[in-house]
Symmetry: C2
C-alpha cells in the first residue's frame, strides 16, 4: 500500500468536492448520479466513496463549507456581505439547496442532522450579535436569537428568489434591515 501524505489526501478531497459541486449545480442533487460524479471529479467511484461514505455526505460537506464561509463573511464584513454573497450565487447551485430541503421534509433523521449542523458557527454568530447589542449597534429590546432568526429568514427569502434568478436591489433591502434591527430611536 503506497504511503500517502496528508497533503495528497486533502488535495483529493478538494478535487472531489469541487467536481461534486459542479455535478450538483448542473444536474441537481438527484440527477448527480455516480457516473456524473465520476465525470466531474475525474475520479472513480471507488476513490470518491473512499473519502465520503455517501453522496449525502459529499453534499453535506459542501453545505458545511458554505456555512463556514458565510459565517466568516458575516463576522468580518457584516451582514451586508452575506446578502451580497447570496445574491451572487448561481441559481443552479442555490436550486440544489431547495431540492435538498425537499428531501429533509420527508426524512426526520436527516433533518435533525441538518438543523444541528455547525453548532460552533451558530454559537459564534450568537455571541457576535450579543456583543453588538452590548455595544449599542443592535437593538436590545429583541432577543439576539430572534434577531438571528430574522436575518436567517432574510437569507432564506433571498435564496428562494436567487433559485429562479430574481434580481434583487440590495440597497433598499439593507436600509430596511438596518431599520429593523438597529438601535431604535
Amino acid at each position: 500500500m503506497p504511503k500517502v501524505s496528508a497533503e495528497h489526501l486533502e488535495s483529493r478531497r478538494r478535487q472531489i468536492l469541487d467536481g461534486a459541486r459542479r455535478a450538483f449545480a448542473h444536474h441537481g442533487y438527484e440527477g448527480a448520479t455516480v457516473v456524473r460524479l465520476e465525470a466531474e471529479t475525474g475520479l472513480s467511484r471507488g476513490a470518491i466513496f473512499n473519502y465520503f461514505p455517501s453522496k449525502w455526505d459529499i453534499f453535506y460537506a459542501l453545505a458545511d463549507e458554505d456555512q463556514h464561509l458565510v459565517a466568516e463573511l458575516w463576522l468580518e464584513q457584516g451582514f451586508t456581505a452575506v446578502l451580497r454573497w447570496v445574491a451572487e450565487q448561481k441559481p443552479e447551485w442555490v436550486g440544489v439547496y431547495l431540492e435538498v430541503h425537499r428531501h429533509l421534509r420527508t426524512n426526520v433523521a436527516l433533518r435533525e442532522q441538518w438543523m444541528q449542523r455547525a453548532p460552533d458557527v451558530n454559537e459564534r454568530l450568537r455571541e457576535h450579535l450579543l456583543e453588538q447589542q452590548a455595544r449599542g449597534e443592535l437593538r436590545a429590546d429583541v432577543a439576539a436569537d430572534d434577531i438571528g432568526r430574522f436575518l436567517g429568514l432574510i437569507v432564506d427569502g433571498l435564496v428562494l428568489g436567487a433559485s429562479v434568478g430574481a434580481e434583487v436591489d440590495l440597497e433598499p433591502l439593507l436600509k430596511l434591515v438596518v431599520a429593523a434591527i438597529g438601535p431604535q430611536s
Copy 2:
C-alpha cells in the same frame, strides 16, 4: 349531449382542485401521477383534463387561489395575517411550491408566466402600500415597490422554513418587520 349548468361545472372544477391539492401535498408535484390525481379527485383522467389542459394548469390554478387568498388577507387584515397564514400551512403543501420552483429554474417560459401571475393582485397590493405611505402608516423614504419586495422576501423566507416544519415565533418577527417598514422617528 347532456346540458350542464354553470353550477355543475363549478362544482366539478372545485372537486378537481381540492383532490389535486391533496395529491400534490401527499406525493409532491412530480409524484402526483395521473392515477393518483384520479384517486384523489374521484374522477377519470378524461374528466380531469376536460377542465384543465395539463397537470401544470391545475397546480397553477391552486397557486392562483392561494395568491388571491393571501392578497385578501393582506388588504383586509394586514401583513400579520399573511405571516400567520404562511406559518400555519402544512409543510407538505409548502414543499410543493419549492418543488415547482425547481422546475421554474430550468424552464424560462414557465418562469415568465409564473412571475407575471395575478397582475391584478399585485397592482392592488401596490396601491395599498402607496395609500399606507400617503397616510403615514409606512415610511415614505423607501419606494413602495421596495417595501413590497421586502415583505415578499419575508414570506419566502417563512415558506422555506415552513417546508421543513420549522417553528416560528411571530411576535418578535412582526416587531422587527414593523420597525423596518413603519414610519421612522
